[in-house]
Symmetry: C3
Subunit: 429 residues, 3 copies
Amino acid sequence: MAEPGATSRLRLSGLCFLLQTFTILLFAAFVRFSPESGPGLCSQPLNCSRRIQDWGSQPPRFRDAHIQTLLGFGFLVAFLSRYGPGSAAISILVVAFAIQWALLLQGFLHQFRNGKIHLGAQSMVRADFGAAAALISTGAVLGRVNPVQTLLLTLLGVTLFTLNEYTLLTLLGVSDSGGSVTVHAFGAYFGLLVSRLLRQPHGEQREEQQDTGHQPDVFVVVGTISLWIFWPGFTSATTAHGSAEPWAVLNTYLSMAASTMATFVLSPVLYEQSTLRMVQIQDAAVAAVAVMGMAGEMLVTPFGALIAGFLAGLIPPLGFRFLTPFLRSRLKIQDTCGVHNVHGLPGVLGALLGTLLAALATADAYGGRLEPVFPLLARGSRTRTGQALLQLSALLLSLLLAALGGCLTGELYLGGPGRGPRGCARCCR
Amino acid sequence: MAEPGATSRLRLSGLCFLLQTFTILLFAAFVRFSPESGPGLCSQPLNCSRRIQDWGSQPPRFRDAHIQTLLGFGFLVAFLSRYGPGSAAISILVVAFAIQWALLLQGFLHQFRNGKIHLGAQSMVRADFGAAAALISTGAVLGRVNPVQTLLLTLLGVTLFTLNEYTLLTLLGVSDSGGSVTVHAFGAYFGLLVSRLLRQPHGEQREEQQDTGHQPDVFVVVGTISLWIFWPGFTSATTAHGSAEPWAVLNTYLSMAASTMATFVLSPVLYEQSTLRMVQIQDAAVAAVAVMGMAGEMLVTPFGALIAGFLAGLIPPLGFRFLTPFLRSRLKIQDTCGVHNVHGLPGVLGALLGTLLAALATADAYGGRLEPVFPLLARGSRTRTGQALLQLSALLLSLLLAALGGCLTGELYLGGPGRGPRGCARCCR
Amino acid sequence: MAEPGATSRLRLSGLCFLLQTFTILLFAAFVRFSPESGPGLCSQPLNCSRRIQDWGSQPPRFRDAHIQTLLGFGFLVAFLSRYGPGSAAISILVVAFAIQWALLLQGFLHQFRNGKIHLGAQSMVRADFGAAAALISTGAVLGRVNPVQTLLLTLLGVTLFTLNEYTLLTLLGVSDSGGSVTVHAFGAYFGLLVSRLLRQPHGEQREEQQDTGHQPDVFVVVGTISLWIFWPGFTSATTAHGSAEPWAVLNTYLSMAASTMATFVLSPVLYEQSTLRMVQIQDAAVAAVAVMGMAGEMLVTPFGALIAGFLAGLIPPLGFRFLTPFLRSRLKIQDTCGVHNVHGLPGVLGALLGTLLAALATADAYGGRLEPVFPLLARGSRTRTGQALLQLSALLLSLLLAALGGCLTGELYLGGPGRGPRGCARCCR
């Protein structure tokens, strides 16, 4: 990132202090632990028969809190390994603030009762999702913004993410348990739009830096393994109770296996190098998870996951080869970490797959699992076509919000010190 | 590995495409999710009273799917760290394909009902075991075969592993929950026999490469810690329900502690260097787990695990010092990653220990735990001596199958392009 | 560490052999698996209604053994990453021996019935705590003692830790589930006192070595992530059953987020460098956990965790800037890994916070959670003031025992071969 002087360092220090103080005050005023529904209760059989209050239309899995956060943070490992140790400090700052901010905003929308937010274990999982979206956005502009700007980006990104997620999941009843649309696609396109507006004259210097961005193999290996270990659990962390849960895990697992094979199919054809670079395998794993975010709990047949994973695994090699240069030269969008190929397009593919599956969802195929996956469909208050259209409109709404929000955020950046006053007009050309 | 040209790259690409397409077709034709016995059900107390259908004679633990896969993949972490980042891409390819292939084959043998394979969470764990055996085999020939050959080795290795496992665990009722025989010994000797037949004139170049094979410490440290964290759970992943399970975990844990001490006892005597290399400690941990694979759930007394672990910890230092040079010079067997010292011999020791324990198993010593560990013994349909003989014959059968299979596979390799047509005769001399 | 010759290597080998043989004999004589209360039972709903026997006044969480050890070992990951790969071998040796030794000693104190120690899953967790305290102590003297001395330090440290823990938790009924006092403060001050007595003329050479002690970023990143993933579960591993457990997890999580922000507030002011070093963020995470060790299960309001974490996050930057040079120049205490700033002071702060919370604990604020957190208070056999005074006296007792024990241990060291016979007088000046 840009070398900040003494002023810049103090500005970062001050902003962190301000944000943390503000957050503490809000927590003091509003946030309390959920009084009766501790997650620990559910591991004691005698208490588990009383149903925990639903949270929006998606009853979150009420399991041990530390397992949840453990799984959730696998996300972070993957991102860090992609962005490299040099950016790790900033990534952790993003997570530390995004989690607190997401807890507050999501609490106001979801768990605000009697003037207090009632915090529980599932709040942490949702907050992890928010932090993940913020990290994806950061990935598009990494190395071109200073820490202060990154914090502001996180502030706005998490706010928009929470609004979008609340609209889609709670108000519209869209099924997107693993965040194909709300996390991957939203985070990627939000970051890309910000990146579009950040485009600076000294952008040419970026190209080498982007190449050195390929970390030492050790780090990428650790990241890839973490993905394989933790992410199947992450995509299923907020799926419906009971029977739909293992579907999401197994589907994600199969999807990762197939997408790895796809990378080995395509990369030798596209690239001259004799051996595959680990970072390509990591890209395949991330894409496989992004495509399974929405469809993971919907896929009834394992071979569907294999096919979807195989297709998702084709996207990153093709994208890095053909799309990223095109974006850079024509659309003037620099994508430092390639979030478009790894999160954006696979997320869109996942949403289309989810739409298709919702259109095909019949009680025959799902049996007792229709209720947890598509509750409104099961209760008869919505048709299959209606649900499918909603899943599709969720994608369009997210892209629209990401585009508008990205323009707005980029605008705020460009109005900052040391940058010319270029406007949203450029973004919307 | 050998530097592949354009032809070789395209051959890898084509083989991956072929295998993946074939797998998808088989999955489409045969594999469905298990309809009623989702693993998620078991975390809901009300549904848990109905017993899940046994799977062979070993009722697998029916727990959360993601915990299972999480633990299972700890295996992979350890292997990758041993083989080094340079081989990580190939290892992941092996895992990605081995899991799909093992799911299919094991499904046909274990879960084939009404023309369909019913996939569940426990299938993933068994598939992880298969992938682990394939990785161990790969470890013996790593750096001397190209990716295409590695894939074929995986294809054959997983097939033989599945046959062997089915014969031993299901047909013969052998207890080997952690895979001392089926995973460690079988994988190691299968790989060693293939390595024997691969012996090439340019084998001398290997010796330096083997030395550079000692990875940077960071990587080995991460691998060792992963072993300590994940493997105790892995060895107990398929143990019997209930009370026998913590035995396997605690025994493995104690075994690792004692074998680490053993390495600190022996290494200063054998080697001149002043400080221990981390890779030696990792070897000790792997050997400790291999020896506990079969006996882990059988050992009634903790000090037994300490003694077994201590003995297992003596094997790798002695083996690398005296046995590996002997194998290389006399038997012409190159063992790139030393799988013989780390997996092979400790696995054999574990099988002998298991035999001894089965011979000593009385209802007095085991109490209610006899039933889950030795079900046939508890039901009176088998004597202690019979069970012990079976445990021993399991070792011999596995070694025989590994030897024959290794010869067959090596033969197939040697008949490949660019290699002289040497035959099985050499193997069986 | 000092370059040991052949004699030194053989002495290490002999000591390891001696200790391991001694441990095996003790295990053979005394240790058996707990006959009826296997942890696996609790995952089977039907058996869970029978209450497991309490262990001291703190009923440990009786969950799956491998989850426990998995979480416990997250501790180790963090320490290793702090001390660097060069010291990893010694750290693993410390853990391997400390676990066995702690199992024996804690078994004699806690689980000794009918002449036998009954080992269960929770024993492993407590042993992990002991190993953690030993690792912290080792951190203060790392690089200045040879492996033999490290083993002896572990032997004495674990013995004193077990005595201290038994006195505080079982005899006095102090609540310290995450070990603010028993693990962090005790381990740090014990190590510091030993370090004081080790002060040698060639101590000047240490300063450079201390600087090279900053590991490559990759390693620190992995350690920090492991902390975030595993430690919230670790602090809650021995908390009371049920509802108090998620509090500890969530509080620790929030504390880590706030302390990371605090580091970003303070570091830019104190240091000239433009970007934060990852090791500073890791320090913040460790401090945040140390401060939550005692208070984690007591804090009713999330903002309390944020404030405590923020304060704890200020300690390491200030400590490394002002306190460590002062300790080194005035008190002649070298602190290789800065355990005073990262474990010692935050642990003391955590104990003070715990005292305050105990003084404020009312049945109104805690509701049904008073019983698991402060059992004696809930039963009316102790007043709030009494409990608060006990929590405070726990801190003082631990510091006293750490100081005396450190002097004793340092004395034993200094009397060793090759060192002048300086005495305890110097320690107590």
